[in-house]
């Protein structure tokens, strides 16, 4: 039980990963998006993974384009095309938001998953 309590939380939404971190890294740039922020985009169908922006929810970005979120109120991660992935409610916390990788056997490289 104690071991479970020590574990950080993680949510997976399609190819997006939202992982809890202890603190925001230094040198981040604040993002001022309104209503919602895009965390991943589809190449083919105009779908996007988005997180709702509201009071108590802040976003930051590092030099490599990795997003971070600090929220004191719950928010939601959802798809514009709701049929693609169900909405997940994200509780309060500090999070790193990143995208999944896969291994491409033709090029022998690790590449970002393209949706």
């Amino acid at each position: 039980m104690k071991q479970q309590q020590d574990k950080k939380r993680m949510y997976l939404h399609g190819e997006c990963m939202i992982a809890e971190i202890d603190a925001l890294p230094e040198g981040l740039k604040h993002r001022d998006d309104k209503d919602s922020i895009m965390i991943a985009e589809s190449e083919t169908v105009g779908n996007e993974h988005r997180i709702k922006v509201k009071e108590g929810v802040e976003f930051f970005e590092d030099a490599h384009g990795i997003l971070y979120m600090r929220n004191t109120v719950p928010t939601e991660v959802y798809c514009l095309h709701e049929a693609r992935h169900d909405t997940i409610e994200l509780p309060e916390g500090i999070w790193q938001i990143d995208k999944a990788k896969e291994y491409d056997y033709l090029s022998s490289n690790i590449i970002q998953v393209r949706d």
Partner: protein
Amino acid sequence: MADIYIINSENPKDIALELQQLDSKNNYVVLNSKSPKAILMELEELKTNRRIHAELKRKTDEAEKEKRIKPWRDFLYQKAFEPNKLSNKEIENLCLEFYEKFILTNNRRLKNYPKAPNINIIEELKWWFPNKLWEPAPRGGYRCLVGRYLNKIDKEIRTEIPYYRPYGLPYQDPLPRRYGALINRNNNFGGIIQYGKEYERLYYINFEGCRLSEESRIFWDWYQKTFDVIAMYYGKDTNTCHVIKKPDEWKIEDNYTKMYYRYGEKERFFFERIEVPKWLYVTPAEELNPQDYLLLQNADVKAEFVRKIGVDRLVVFGTVVDTYENYPDNEMWAKSEYKIIDMHEIIPSRRKRDLDGIDRGIAERFSYAPFLYMKNQTTGVYHLEGIHPRCKTLYDAIKMRYNGLNIKDYDIKDIK
């Protein structure tokens, strides 16, 4: 008004007459038979006959309605999918004709739109053009002007045809539900693809013969010409008419699961909303080569490949290395049905490079090529995504997939 049956062995007609005079709201019916049982049976038969008659009338009316609206429905579907027959010049003239007839002739409108529009002809069917889903459709512009003429036409139809009710006709849409969002209907001021209720005007004018005033007729004559294009939009900020031209060939087939269209030599193929390569579209499922999976880059297209070929056919070439069943405490992995499957049987050989990085033309087969097999919990579609050959367990695979995060330090709360 109710039907009241008089069953009485003594002078039922006199009773009926007397009661009818006192109570004119209801209908008093005299039944001739004297035996109560016979009377009740007769009563029941009368009610049944009435029900049968009502049902027959309803079916006759429906058949009659269907006969009347069938030409209209056939026209809509035929018009939507017919090949393009307008040149670019004719499409430009269509937009300029609107400007000349309905803006230049009105001083107030001319102040708002002093210049003739630029024309942008689009040879592509794009989902939700010209806006992405989350941006509100722009208001005003030519759509507003067209709306005024159409409202006037509605009033004239109502005057001529007393039974005209908006939404009275069955809803029609040449684009089946899955493709409903293919063309943005929020702000188009012309074209054959409209909201279903817009087609009702077409029915009453062109098929019921409703007459219009001269001004409305001039507008309607122009409006009908726009049925030779897919849709027309106006961008006020750039003073541009965007017109989606009809494809040279366009079909939605296989129970609405596949779409194909062509502009000139440029063909595009879709499984519902996902654009796929031609070979995936045309090749029958049983002739697909599992190795072709590797030719695909996009995860959605890969999923369509897996869906078409059948995940069983693909996975049968593999060997399960690790599975969610080995981690009974991990509920989230069970929901996504995570497995590592070694697919080296279908992975083609790679060119081996020497220590200087030079390709010496030697091919080397993979001895181990793991893929992460998982289920999208929302859609039920299975995905196969490559993972690095050093991954031997699900922990390794998910760590690699998520940028080296040690999954054992995390409690996965939800996967969607």
